[in-house]
């Protein structure tokens, strides 16, 4: 059943582009965004002049070290065009295409360029320092928290509640880094074993070095068009079937940490719009957000692609491999391709676009694909953003 949502124009994805993801790139944030945007337009056979509106995203300015960072790289394509920056922390990467969707769906723009960029390398001694200031300045910051602490606690809670062991969770990292071997932009592709993950440097128990995605520079871009425009541009448009976003409460410790309810609400919103009633059967390929390996399982459950606490078991049965029943992170995800925050989320949308066009080359999943989804998560660990695409 589709809800009665008034959408003036059906929206298609017609092109996508990606820079290399690397620890430190020579390019400035503007140049990274430009490179991704140019590739995306080239792939659609368009030029900057064909773009009506621009939506861009970047996570905190403090990584790039440029305040108004969105505006700073806006002139990539946004010169004298309606241009807006959207921001929901780590969820930005999927929120940018959501915002681009409503630009086109509303009839305001016939074509919209979504660009997401992140350059984390300028912040020294380590970009982790930027995360020190997301905490409550009175009750939490005096303890000197870092980001990995709370993920470690969430991971521990998930392990406890679902009986997932570190060995099982490590298989996500093994799978994604292996998938990334086929990705030309990948930063952290590797053939590793569960033992390698378990024996890697212990950071904040139960999180080891190889449980976490790397620090990255990079940019991604996706071109959206209304149905009429899309039919002119390409014979194989990929349609935006549904979008969803939800924000949970501010305090991460007020939630049941073992289940990402905010992702679930966002997913339900997107499924409703897409007319998807049984996502675990109807979604053919997914890119759940995987900055940490347990997070992929966590999000698979939130997205209702598995029952709560069922994802570790399915993972053991190779359910989520490229040749599996429901391939997840066929790109290699954040763990394998890299994690330039906002760009990483949009990279996932680009991957679903390529999968649904059967253009993913060696990364193409084995099964036939009709519906795919990409998801990101962020802010104070409280926002879920979901986009469902179909071909």
């Amino acid at each position: 059943m589709r809800p009665n949502i008034f959408v003036k124009d059906k929206v298609a994805v017609v092109g996508a582009g990606l820079t290399l993801f690397r620890r430190r790139l020579l390019e400035t944030p503007r140049e990274l965004a430009w490179e991704a945007a140019r590739q995306a337009l080239d792939s659609a056979g368009l030029t900057f002049d064909d773009i009506d509106c621009v939506v861009m995203g970047t996570a905190p300015d403090a990584f790039d070290g440029v305040h108004f960072n969105g505006e700073y790289f806006a002139d990539v394509a946004g010169r004298n065009k309606p241009t807006v920056r959207v921001y929901v922390g780590g969820g930005t990467g999927v929120f940018v295409p959501i915002a681009a969707w409503w630009h086109v769906a509303s009839g305001l723009c016939k074509t919209a360029l979504a660009v997401a960029e992140e350059k984390m390398s300028p912040a020294h001694p380590h970009p982790q320092g930027v995360f020190a200031y997301i905490w409550d300045p009175i009750l939490e910051r005096p303890l000197g928290p870092n980001l990995i602490w709370i993920f470690a606690m969430e991971m521990r809670r998930y392990m406890h509640k679902c009986g997932a062991t570190k060995e099982i969770i490590a298989r996500v990292s093994v799978k994604n880094k292996r998938n990334a071997l086929d990705h030309p932009a990948a930063q952290a592709a590797a053939n590793i074993t569960v033992d390698d993950v378990l024996r890697s440097e212990l950071l904040v128990w139960p999180v080891n070095r190889l449980d976490i995605s790397p620090v990255s520079d990079g940019a991604a871009a996706v071109v959206f068009a209304s149905e009429n425009e899309a039919r002119r541009i390409t014979d194989s448009p990929v349609w935006v079937e549904g979008i969803g976003f939800a924000l949970d409460n501010t305090h991460w410790y007020n939630r049941e940490l073992a289940y990402p309810r905010y992702v679930n609400y966002a997913a339900r919103m997107a499924y409703k719009m897409a007319g998807i009633e049984r996502p675990w059967r109807e979604i053919d390929v997914a890119e759940p957000y995987d900055p940490f390996d347990y997070k992929e399982l966590h999000h698979i459950e939130g997205l209702m692609l598995a029952r709560p606490c069922e994802a570790p078991k399915l993972l053991e049965e190779d359910w989520f491999d490229r040749s599996g029943e429901l391939p997840t992170s066929p790109s290699g995800g954040l763990l394998g391709v890299g994690n330039p925050i906002a760009a990483a989320g949009l990279m996932k949308v680009a991957e679903i676009f390529w999968q649904l066009r059967y253009e993913a080359g060696p990364r193409q999943v084995k099964k036939p694909v009709h519906y795919g989804l990409a998801q990101a998560w962020g802010d104070l660990m409280q926002v879920g953003t979901v986009i469902v695409l179909g071909n």
Binding site: R24, L25, L26, E27, T28, R30, E31, W34, A37, R38, L41, T47, F48, D49, A62, G65, D75, V76, A77, R79, S121, P122, A123, H124, P125, P127, G129, V130, Y133, P137, I138, R141, P142
Partner: protein, 149 residues
């Protein structure tokens, strides 16, 4: 809401700062070429379909990739301001002139820089005063200031 004029010593407060130790910026593709040129006492611009832009920024405003060209001037003041106070509000001993300076062989942009002159006016011809070659490090401050030509 209760309000009085508090002294900072009288209240419990939570000092904080929001800085990383430092930032290390990369120059970018054409930025790197510009840095090399500055070390050699040259300034680069970028040739775009609609004209020459200074400084070069890898892509043109229309989105096409630009082509690096050297700009030689003569340089002219497009607009300027006179700074009388520093950022803390302390008066400067001498007002300092800052100007947007564009070379005649460029169509858009220019450099923002200090000008040292008895007087300054729009359209005034100026030239860069370079640091000695050994002291140059590929930064905009390799030009100490602009002076009357």
């Amino acid at each position: 809401m209760a309000w009085k004029r508090w002294r900072i010593e009288e209240v419990i407060h939570y000092p904080g700062s929001q800085e990383v130790e430092k930032y290390v910026y990369t120059p970018g593709i054409h930025g790197l070429e510009l840095a090399k040129a500055l070390r050699e006492g040259r300034v680069l611009g970028m040739k775009c379909p609609d004209g020459v832009y200074v400084p070069p920024k890898t892509y043109c405003p229309d989105g096409s990739p630009g082509e690096l060209v050297e700009v030689r001037g003569p340089w002219r003041v497009v607009t300027y301001t006179l700074v009388h106070q520093d950022i803390y509000g302390n008066p400067l001993p001498e007002p300092e002139a800052l100007a947007l300076i564009r070379p005649d062989d460029a169509d858009y942009g220019g450099l923002i820089h200090r000008v040292r002159a008895e007087s300054i006016y729009i359209g005034m011809e100026v030239k860069p005063r370079w640091k000695p070659p050994k002291q140059r490090s590929g930064q905009i401050t390799d030009i100490e200031y602009f002076e009357p030509a």
